[in-house]
């Protein structure tokens, strides 16, 4: 069987790559893919600790949505022929550690982490939407639609986190600031490498 196993399939889905601003689209898709991948790992970490608690089902549901997001970005990555970030193995571990670590602070800690991350992500999606609208709303209609939908989903996660007493978590503001700083760094790096 071919090196790497299951992910070789006949070369099918291809959007026309003519006329698009490749560097901009490359960055957008690469960083979004990395973000959804990281979010998946964060929820996996949280489930590992809190899976059997009362917030388990809530986290599981948010995790399922992130899985769908990641699947979509996998497709976009192949269609636009974008290179994934080299840091994926690192986000794999770091995401899991962040999720598990915040969950060890308790259910509210986990929710605080969710609020921080989802707020970062939705701000980031918003700025991408602005960029694409400035470039050419018509040309990037499909991509814009997807990002808008995902931004709404992330905002929903953010609100769910708040509903579940994220703000009552220990050292909430410190935690939130630290996590959001980490997210900014992750976004900066994933766009470039």
């Amino acid at each position: 069987s071919p090196a790497g196993g299951a992910s070789l399939r006949p070369c099918s889905t291809r959007v026309t790559l003519e006329g698009i601003n490749k560097p901009v689209i490359d960055r957008i898709i690469r960083v979004d893919h990395a973000g959804e991948y990281g979010a998946n790992r964060i929820y996996a970490g949280q489930m590992a600790v809190l899976g059997r608690s009362s917030v388990g089902p809530v986290i599981q549901q948010m995790w399922n949505q992130e899985k769908d997001h990641l699947k979509k970005f996998n497709e976009l990555m192949v269609a636009y022929r974008v290179r994934p970030t080299v840091l994926l193995p690192f986000w794999n571990v770091a995401g899991f550690v962040l999720g598990a670590g915040s969950a060890l602070l308790g259910k509210k800690g986990a929710m605080a982490c969710t609020v921080a991350v989802e707020e970062s992500i939705s701000d980031h999606y918003n700025s991408q939407i602005r960029t694409l609208m400035e470039e050419d709303p018509e040309k990037y209609k499909e991509l814009l639609q997807i990002i808008k939908q995902f931004r709404d989903d992330e905002r929903e996660h953010h609100d769910i986190g708040l509903e579940h007493d994220a703000e009552a978590a220990p050292a909430y503001s410190v935690l939130k600031t630290a996590i959001q700083l980490g997210c900014k760094a992750a976004i900066f790096l994933s766009e470039r490498i």
Binding site: A3, G5, S7, L8, R9, C11
Partner: protein, 295 residues
């Protein structure tokens, strides 16, 4: 023959001006007239008010350039370099070959002055041309498969055929290729040559059907780059009929790469089995020591 009498262009392209003057001395009808027309109309690009009134004359120059209104410097350079390739087996990747190429287009040998003296642009142009040919070839093959007119090849054969097709493009220039390789490794050429190499490898994987979006993306490309580079080096030393030793080497390397994937999977499965074994042992010990109490 209508020729635009233009005053010296306000923003002269040094090269074009030199060539125009020099080619006045070396007339070769009809090639000269077509290239003249291009140079004359090129500055027109910058001075539209000097465009001649009345119907534009049509020239059937080399390659049927009658429909082009002007030729950019880049296009001109491409034409010169393409023409120069014919002289590489004799002169190597040098300014001499470029000069000879320029001569066949009816231009002055001074045209070679547009380029680096070490032949870098000629080599990069050649590599880029080969990569484009390879992409077109793979694109056509893909179309045939999609139309159902051809069988989809298994991955190892696809990779072998693609690398072989690409390396075969070197055969006419094989004597001078080692020289080209060393020039491509010069520091000022490395960004471009690396770029060309990586995009070619990415193309091959793309048409092979690679859809990986994890670290495999990098592993696969690294492996294929290694295969390509080593096979290229083997080819330089190969004196067997039709390079059959090289293709056999290629086949073995691709087979190794496929096995690597299997081996990696096996190692992972073994690792997982070992971990499970250890976990089982730990639980057993806990039970035996009476520590396994429900909380």
């Amino acid at each position: 023959v209508i020729r635009c009498q233009l005053s010296p262009p306000q923003r002269p392209l040094q090269a074009s001006a030199v060539l125009r003057r020099a080619s006045d001395e070396q007339k070769k009808e009809p090639l000269a007239s077509s290239s003249q027309q291009q140079f004359d109309s090129h500055p027109t690009d910058h001075q539209p008010e000097q465009e001649p009134q009345g119907p534009r004359p049509s020239y059937t120059g080399q390659g049927g350039q009658e429909s082009e209104d002007y030729e950019s410097e880049e296009q001109l350079q491409h034409r010169i370099l393409t023409a120069a390739l014919e002289f590489v087996p004799e002169h190597g990747w040098t300014a001499e070959a470029i000069a000879e190429g320029a001569k066949t287009l009816g231009l002055s040998v001074a045209a070679a002055g547009m380029f680096h003296s070490d032949g870098s642009e000629l080599i990069l142009h050649f590599v880029s041309q080969c990569n484009t040919k390879l992409s077109d070839l793979l694109e056509q093959e893909q179309k045939l498969v999609q139309l159902g007119e051809a069988e989809k090849k298994p991955t190892d054969q696809f990779l072998r055929d693609a690398v072989e097709a690409r390396l075969r493009m070197l055969i006419p220039y094989i004597e001078k290729w080692p020289q080209a390789l060393s020039i491509l490794l010069l520091p000022h050429n490395i960004p471009s040559s690396l770029n060309l190499l990586t995009s070619m490898i990415d193309d091959i994987w793309h048409y092979a059907g690679d859809q990986s979006t994890d670290f495999n993306w990098y592993t696969r490309r690294a492996v294929l780059t290694g295969i390509y580079n080593t096979t290229e080096l083997v080819m330089m030393q190969d004196s067997s009929p039709d390079f059959e030793d090289t293709w056999r080497f290629l086949e073995n390397r691709v087979a190794d790469a496929m096995n690597m994937g299997n081996t990696a999977n096996q190692v992972q499965s073994t690792g997982e089995a070992v971990v499970q074994g250890l976990m089982g042992a730990a639980v057993t010990i806990r039970n035996l020591a009476g520590l396994n109490q429900r909380r």
